[in-house]
Symmetry: C2
Amino acid sequence: MNSLQLSHRLVPELTGKLRSRYRVLQRVYLHQPIGRRSLAHVLGTTERILRADVELFKEQGLIDVGPLGMSVTEAGEALIAELDPVIRALDGRHDTEHVLARALGIEHVTIVAGDSAEDEIVMRDIGHAAAHTLRSHLRLPCTVAVTGGSSMAMIADMMPRAAQPQAIEVLPARGGLGERVELLANTIASQLADKLGGTYRMFHVPESLSKATAERLSQEPSVSEMVQRIRGADIVIHGIGDALTMARRRRLDDATIELLRSRGAVAEAFGYYFDAQGCIVHVMNTVGLRLEDLSGIRAVIGVAGGAAKGAAIRAVALAYQIDALVTDEGAARAIIEQCQK
Amino acid sequence: MNSLQLSHRLVPELTGKLRSRYRVLQRVYLHQPIGRRSLAHVLGTTERILRADVELFKEQGLIDVGPLGMSVTEAGEALIAELDPVIRALDGRHDTEHVLARALGIEHVTIVAGDSAEDEIVMRDIGHAAAHTLRSHLRLPCTVAVTGGSSMAMIADMMPRAAQPQAIEVLPARGGLGERVELLANTIASQLADKLGGTYRMFHVPESLSKATAERLSQEPSVSEMVQRIRGADIVIHGIGDALTMARRRRLDDATIELLRSRGAVAEAFGYYFDAQGCIVHVMNTVGLRLEDLSGIRAVIGVAGGAAKGAAIRAVALAYQIDALVTDEGAARAIIEQCQK
DNA sequence: CCAACAGGGACTATTTGCGTCCCGCTATGT
DNA sequence: ACATAGCGGGACGCAAATAGTCCCTGTTGG
């Protein structure tokens, strides 16, 4: 029982204020630089009510105010980091993390507050937490394989920039997925490498190949070398998608979509589609990381948020061994509900 | 850095409330049963302002309200105990304790909030803390020697009653001191033994004997046996007095008082008078514990509070080895001031 | 050069907190 | 047995802190 929980008995209004102020400070951090007005809009409160908080933060030296808006100082950033586990324990996320860890057989689960489906900024927080998780798993020298997707893009965005070059190589886990360039694994690998002070390699392989073409392509020396590198990565960090959403985003043909639907596909991860029991129901014909490679990889990190992702997360956790999961309260609730059924 | 100190950055108004509420709850505990009106009077606030706190405590199940007033529940008592170190650290007493411990060469110093000279209830708190200290030093079976005085009486009063008999023998350290029966070492020994579930022995020896009579008395078998027991005690817990105050209370003759004054006596403990350097300037001719016996005793616990006792505490700390000191902020401040001179 | 958004100030409405006075109840002492 | 002192709790009204609203000025970026 820590001192805060004890104090809660004597000053119950404490926790509410602490949480709300933490939330405000964290939002400033995630949005910085940002003005009071937009912050108020984002947080769903009024501007006036934020002024009290902002003035407090300012005199505590937690934020700087500039012409572009507010941004948190180093001290503020440190406070956010130090207070994170406190808040986490305070609203029971710490307990939920353990429940989830046991239910899914994942060693380390991190749940950020909110639901990224309802509030897009929660995605940034997931990115922040996932960046932290990734960094904690790095052991130099190190090869990191990444997938595409919005969660992954956010990780690269929220990753703090390394002061010095580091012996890290970032690779895309598979050929291109998705259509928007900023969500491609190649793009994300380059951004992440940039932030980490490491190097990256691109991997240009078209999607939806015929099986024969894919195999021939794999035998090309340049491709084959990349595939070797990827399969020998130390860390894989990947998004977890909803099967049908991903299928549509990849413009799969109607027949395949119907196949997925009929086989009860709920989850997608690096080109594999899984049903609720974690069985593979479909595989994309692309080149790169295969499911069977995962067992040889030191750390497999999954990232996904939003209530709709609950089923998908649970499915992939059944399908293969995940070492660390970063998600949000929305997804966590959904998973726990599913497990109780 | 604990969670409360971290939270203080985001919710600074919190600590003030926590402290004041803790103070209120603690006062209820020390005065129980007590009504809102008298509590308000004691705390120097208004009744109305306490109502908010009291209602909170009630709904938190920390106090019971009865026709005789309020009293704290077991849960409340536990909370007070658990929160004590938190508050102690919060208002810097924890640091002061370490400063004092180093300055006086005492291993364990406990400082309770307030000044018992200004507020008599602080004496109860000292008693409470000293009772706790004493209990923490008990190793059964155990012999405890006690002196007289108001501090000591308060310890017996605040000592929680043991559920079962325990192998503890409580003895008066020396012959009777003081005039009021409730402050006599014999009385306190019996009360303390009662609370601890132990046994006690009385020791009736008149004060201010001639040296010859005292020596003859010591050779009486019954007296001699008691003296042996006392000198072999495991724990000595004693009050520390101001020299002149004690001299007057014991109705010493004017010549002796003048002697004490001329020799710069500032402190008194179990019949010995010390100057500011800790040198013995006078000894009462009574029978019982001698200064030289202290070195063979496992734990010597000193208890004294109030700004006026500062010099006395410092003097006895120089005179002999004290293992644990229980005092208040008033005395602590006085000691630190003295040391800086 | 101007539109947009930044922080900060001023005024008002609302809520909360607190002082004050009162009542009914129950132990306690005569 | 009764009077009384002390208990908790209710009610009302004022004052102060809090929050809503509107406005002003400076900076930035197209």
